[in-house]
Structure formats: structure tokens, C-alpha cells
């Protein structure tokens, strides 16, 4: 059965949604989203004049980035924002060309490796980042280049869907996390920040569906 190109994006989106519901298979993708979230905090700290002290990842998908200096506002904002950007970037670059997808995968490997070298300080985080490293390595090594594109696109969507849903966990009334930090800094309520992240992620999914169509065309 041949599926029309305009439905390819939504088929991949549905595949990503199903993967996220699977008990064990979904776990590494949650770690991936968590890694992108924390590394975004860290990279923003570096870009705004600070530094990363360490990055911690936990098996339940939670994470912690310890930084020194930099702009607290942008560092807080770019946790969920950065994960949305990473998801969109993975999907977009994978949609453009096979070689671009390959180069991006290699860059991702480099980022994971440097994270282990410079910012991972505990065994649990080392274990999780090594699994993510192996996942990206396996994608490059064992996939034919055509499939690599599709797998990277689905990976990008997995990160994006996680980024869409993750801010909603902040609405637990406990005033913790990035939303509460931004609320403290700006006096704008946490719910507004959650709404902004959620809207940006929805908009990104919509834009990528258009990009996917254009790439097919």
C-alpha cells in the first residue's frame, strides 16, 4: 500500500507517539530529550558568559544541569526551548539530505562524547549518556543511509513530542523547575511560560509538517 507523501509526516508523528507509549523502548528517547534539555541549559550558560559545572541524568527521565555564571533568564528559558530547537533541528537536517543527516549524526556523537569528558561526574549519568552514544552510533553504523534519514526524523519528532509534553509536568502546583525560576525572575506566572513552551512546540510541529511536504516536493 502506497501512502501519499503529504501523510508521511503524520505517519512518522504517529510512529513517534506509539514508541513513546512502549514500556522499555521509550526510555532511551526520554533520556535523549532530557539530555538535550540539560545540554541546552549548559550551552546557553556558556553562550551567556558562564560555564557548566556538571550534568546529571536520572533513569526516570529527570535531569539536572549545574552552571556557574551566565544569564539565569536565558539559561532557564532554554531548557525546554532548547529541546524544541534540537528536535526541530534533527528533523529538519535529516529531511534536507542524506549527507547532512550523516554529518549531523557525527556532530551529535561529538557532543555526547565531549559531555562525557567535561561535564559528566557520576556513574549513572555516564551510563545513560553511553547508551545515547551507542544509540546514535548504531543509527549511523547499522542503517542504510536512506533509513538513517527516516530514523533521525522519527528521533527528532520523539524529542519534539517529549518537549511538547514535558512543560505540562510543571503544572503540579509545587512551583519548582524552570517555569518557577522564570516566574521568580520576571514576575510572569509559571503557567504563562508553560503555555509559551507548549505553543512553540506545537508551532514547530506544524512548521516541520510543511517543511516535510516541501522536501518531498
Amino acid at each position: 500500500m502506497l501512502i501519499k507523501p503529504k501523510y508521511h509526516f503524520w505517519l512518522m508523528f504517529l510512529t513517534a507517539l506509539i514508541i513513546l507509549q512502549l514500556p522499555f523502548i521509550s526510555i532511551p528517547f526520554k533520556w535523549l530529550e532530557s539530555y538535550f534539555h540539560e545540554i541546552s541549559h549548559g550551552l546557553t550558560a556558556i553562550l551567556t558568559g558562564g560555564s557548566i559545572v556538571k550534568i546529571q541524568l536520572f533513569p526516570n527521565g529527570a535531569g539536572l544541569c549545574t552552571t556557574r555564571g551566565g544569564s539565569a533568564f536565558f539559561i532557564s528559558l532554554m531548557g525546554y526551548g532548547g529541546a524544541i530547537l534540537w528536535g526541530s533541528l534533527i528533523f529538519y537536517l535529516a529531511s534536507t539530505h542524506r549527507k547532512v543527516a550523516l554529518v549531523f549524526s557525527v556532530l551529535l556523537l561529538g557532543l555526547l562524547a565531549s559531555s562525557i569528558l567535561f561535564w559528566v561526574r557520576d556513574l549513572l549519568t555516564l551510563f545513560i549518556v553511553l547508551i545515547l552514544l551507542a544509540l546514535v552510533l548504531a543509527k549511523i553504523k547499522y542503517s542504510a543511509h536512506n533509513y538513517l534519514q527516516k530514523i533521525l526524523q522519527v528521533t527528532g519528532l520523539l524529542v519534539l513530542i517529549n518537549s511538547l509534553m514535558s512543560p505540562l509536568y510543571l503544572l503540579d502546583g509545587q512551583a519548582r523547575g524552570d517555569g518557577a525560576a522564570l516566574a521568580d525572575l520576571t514576575f510572569i506566572p509559571e503557567v504563562i511560560w508553560v503555555a509559551i513552551w507548549f505553543s512553540v512546540a506545537l508551532f514547530a510541529i506544524y512548521r516541520l509538517s510543511k517543511v516535510s511536504l516541501r522536501a518531498k516536493g
Binding site: 540539560e38 541549559h41 544541569c65 556557574r68
Partner: protein
């Protein structure tokens, strides 16, 4: 109740006067007038004494009321203090916990103050001067 007035004295006077019939009438009249005068003074003195007694009783009552009120207030205060102690835990003064710094802050300040050297202080500031983002 002892009521003395001039009519009673006037009624008793002829009886007494009757017993001393040898006394001349003018002298008797003078004696009666003197007794009336004396009785009037006694009455005045008794009335004054009654007034001061009643005033003393009123003063005593006011003091008693104020004493009772003070006792009641003291009991009320002690009950309130007991209740607030039960609510606030061990503290004797219910207001003592409001402005005291948290134990974490006290620990941080103590750690900071315990280090004399400026270089070591900078190290501690650097160690603690990190931000956590979840």
C-alpha cells in the same frame, strides 16, 4: 435601726423632767434645747459616719472588682500562652520564631564566618555560587 429625732427626745423629755420637778421651767427649757442640739450633732456625726462607711464599702468593691479583673486577665493570658506554646512547639515566647533565620542560613553564615582568609572565602563563594537547572 436607730433613728434619733427631736420629736422622740421631746416626748421623752417630760418624763425625765417629771422626775426632777424641782428644776425651774426656764432651766428645763434650756436643758431640752441643749439636748436637742447635742442630739442633732450626734445625728450629723452618725450620718457622716454612715456616709464614709458606705463610701469605704464602695471603694473596697471597686478594688475587689479590679483585683478580680486582673486575676481573670492573668488566667486568660496564661491560657493563651499555653495554647500558643502547644502550637509553636518548645518556644516559650510565641513570637520568638518569626524573625529568626532558618537553620540552613545560620549554617551558611557560620561556615562563611568561620573562614578568616579572603582567598578561602572566595573559594567558598565559588563553590556555593552555582545555579541548578532541572
Amino acid at each position: 435601726m436607730q433613728i434619733n429625732n427631736s420629736a422622740n427626745l421631746a416626748a421623752q423629755a417630760p418624763i425625765r423632767l417629771g422626775n426632777t420637778s424641782a428644776v425651774p421651767a426656764q432651766e428645763q427649757r434650756q436643758n431640752v434645747a441643749a439636748r436637742e442640739k447635742l442630739n442633732n450633732e450626734e445625728n450629723k456625726a452618725q450620718n457622716a459616719q454612715a456616709d464614709t462607711n458606705s463610701r469605704q464599702r464602695l471603694d473596697f468593691d471597686e478594688q475587689a472588682i479590679s483585683l478580680i479583673e486582673r486575676d481573670q486577665l492573668a488566667q486568660f493570658d496564661s491560657r493563651n500562652a499555653e495554647q500558643s506554646n502547644q502550637q509553636n512547639g518548645q518556644s516559650n515566647n510565641p513570637n520568638s520564631g518569626y524573625d529568626s533565620p532558618s537553620s540552613q542560613n545560620q549554617l551558611a553564615v557560620a561556615a562563611y564566618q568561620s573562614v578568616g582568609a579572603i582567598a578561602q572565602r572566595d573559594d567558598i563563594q565559588q563553590i556555593f555560587g552555582v545555579d541548578l537547572f532541572a
